[in-house]
């Protein structure tokens, strides 16, 4: 039993660089398998709606807008980023991106619609 056992470690830390990452100022890279904001490829979708069926929170909706044309509406407020829909999709029409900076002041902006023609998609 000795007092101040950590003193050497503590003094050493003083001369080390702080480990804190100054996040918004310094970019932070997500790992490769990260499950972030979903991306939808309308041209691959066949409208089987397996993603809708497996989504634990009902965050994803597939709408038919024309002949073999489908639109995905994703509620980012509901999404829990489990990426089960990506696994369920038979045609790989969904993909989890590394995008995490999704905070919004306006809750309506959390609803993201992936249009059938990819040009119009944000």
């Amino acid at each position: 039993m000795k007092p101040g056992r950590m003193i050497i470690e503590v003094m050493r830390s003083f001369f080390k660089k702080p480990v804190t990452i100054k996040y918004p100022a310094v970019a932070f890279e997500m790992p490769d398998k990260f499950r972030g904001k979903l991306k939808f490829y309308p041209e691959k979708c066949i409208g089987c709606k397996m993603c809708m069926r497996d989504c634990p929170t009902g965050a994803i909706t597939i709408n038919k807008i024309g002949d073999k044309q489908f639109e995905a509406e994703i509620d980012l407020g509901k999404c829990i980023y489990c990426a089960q829909c990506v696994d369920s999709c038979l045609k790989k029409a969904l993909e989890a991106t590394k995008d995490v900076e999704l905070a919004q002041l306006d809750s309506r902006k959390l609803k993201v619609v992936f249009n059938a023609s990819p040009k119009n998609t944000p």
């Binding site: 039993m1 056992r5 950590m6 480990v19 997500m30 790992p31 499950r35 497996d54 989890a96």
Partner: protein
């Protein structure tokens, strides 16, 4: 102090010592604790009911969110039960990967606990250092599974993500660093005088009491109860790896600290074995959507103790019943016993020493009135149902047709 100077202070539902809302009403005489009233239920989220409303596959993600720290524990426990009902034999690579994530999770949970314990006894430097080193294991977890907290690794019939050789190398290197750091923390925790003074002799739970009060996990093992599901009833790949069950005879908070820290070393041992002997093969088999009728109980050694899931299926896509017994529920009884005749200053560390996770524990709410302590309000199932229909009707959602159907259902059942 004069004898009449007894008073009650509320530790919780909102208090800096507690990370989650839970109420401890402490009767004090000066600094001495005369008795503690524990009230659970502030975090009731209706998880079990929600499980019944979703398919088995959706439930995996729901139970993963029972606890923020032992997320892999709950999902593995649930998935194991479902696989048992469905009679699925998962590939051995999946078993090994589950074990790997489970042990990495234990490492991060125990390091987190050490930091919290440090904070509770006013040793913030320990908190800062352990949480800094915890980042190493969080990074490995993120590399393996994609995310830091809710790994999303499990699925019915196996695991969802495979790991490759380069990641194994990185992980082994990181485990070496962590082992070195853990040895340093063991040295600090067993020799720093202020830590020992605050921990030893505090929150004593004897061997007999640990058995009588059904303590689980490190809390029980620190009282000399050699009980570990990984050894007693091996699941995943635990039967193939060699490790020791750590016990300690101090029976106090100091013992619990030592047990947790030494368990870390055992976890490193397991992680190394798993990474080195990872069998090749598929990581999952296809699971049916409809699980055949049946029921199963699954046990799992979470970082905090034994986690039990009961799942009953009626042959449909959704489970008929899911019951979750989180380890904190087993240990919370012991807290009351441990606090008796201790000082108020010991309260935070004694509560922290069981590594409580109250939101995982809460399964019901009991309303009691301040003016009349005997009057209590408990809603039965039909009452709760009627209440919810009423609640929705007031907000313009009418379920009357559904209600009729359900009422008929009740009559028939």
């Amino acid at each position: 102090m004069h004898d009449s100077h007894k008073f009650k202070i509320p530790i919780g539902p909102q208090h800096p010592a507690l990370k989650e809302p839970e109420s401890f009403s402490v009767a004090l005489k000066g600094e001495k604790i005369l008795g503690v009233d524990i009230r659970l239920g502030y975090n009731h989220r209706g998880i079990e009911k929600a499980c019944e409303e979703r398919t088995f596959l959706q439930d995996v993600y729901l139970v993963e969110r029972v606890c923020g720290i032992c997320s892999h524990s709950h999902s593995t426990c649930f998935v194991q039960a479902v696989e048992e009902i469905a009679g699925l034999e998962i590939p051995s690579r999946a078993k090994y990967l589950r074990t790997l994530i489970a042990e990495l999770e234990r490492v991060h949970s125990h390091l987190l606990w050490l930091g919290v314990a440090g904070h509770e006894i006013g040793f913030d430097t320990l908190l800062m250092y352990t949480w800094r080193d915890r980042e190493i294991v969080m990074d490995i977890l993120a590399q393996f599974t994609g995310n830091r907290v809710n790994y999303g690794m499990n699925t019915i019939g196996g695991v969802r993500r495979d790991i490759d050789v380069s990641q194994v190398k990185d992980a082994l290197k990181a485990v070496d660093t962590l082992q070195e750091r853990t040895k340093y923390y063991i040295e600090i925790a067993t020799s720093e005088v202020t830590i020992i003074k605050r921990l030893s002799g505090v929150g004593v739970l004897s061997y007999e009491d640990a058995l009588r009060l059904d303590a689980v996990g490190p809390t029980a093992r620190a009282s000399g109860v050699k009980r570990d599901v990984r050894k007693d009833d091996p699941y995943a790949a635990y039967a193939d790896v060699s490790f020791d069950v750590i016990t300690d005879n101090h029976s106090d908070v100091y013992g619990r600290t030592v047990v947790r820290l030494k368990e870390l070393l055992e976890s490193f041992k397991i992680i190394r074995q798993v990474l080195e002997n990872l069998p090749a093969g598929p990581i999952a088999i296809k699971a049916p959507r409809k699980i055949p009728a049946g029921e199963a109980i699954s046990r799992y050694e979470a970082p905090r103790g034994e986690d039990v899931h009961f799942v009953k299926s009626n042959g449909g896509e959704k489970p008929e019943r899911v019951k979750i017994r989180a380890p904190t529920l087993a240990n919370v009884q012991a807290v009351k016993h441990m606090l008796k005749d201790r000082f108020l200053a010991d309260m935070p560390i004694v509560i922290a020493a069981i590594d409580p996770c109250f939101s995982c524990t809460d399964r019901s709410i009991e309303i009691s009135y301040l003016d009349d302590a005997r009057k209590k309000e408990v809603l039965t199932w039909p009452e709760l149902h009627a209440y919810s229909i009423d609640w929705h009707r007031k907000r313009g959602i009418d379920f009357s047709s559904l209600n009729k159907k359900l009422k008929e259902g009740f009559k028939t059942s």
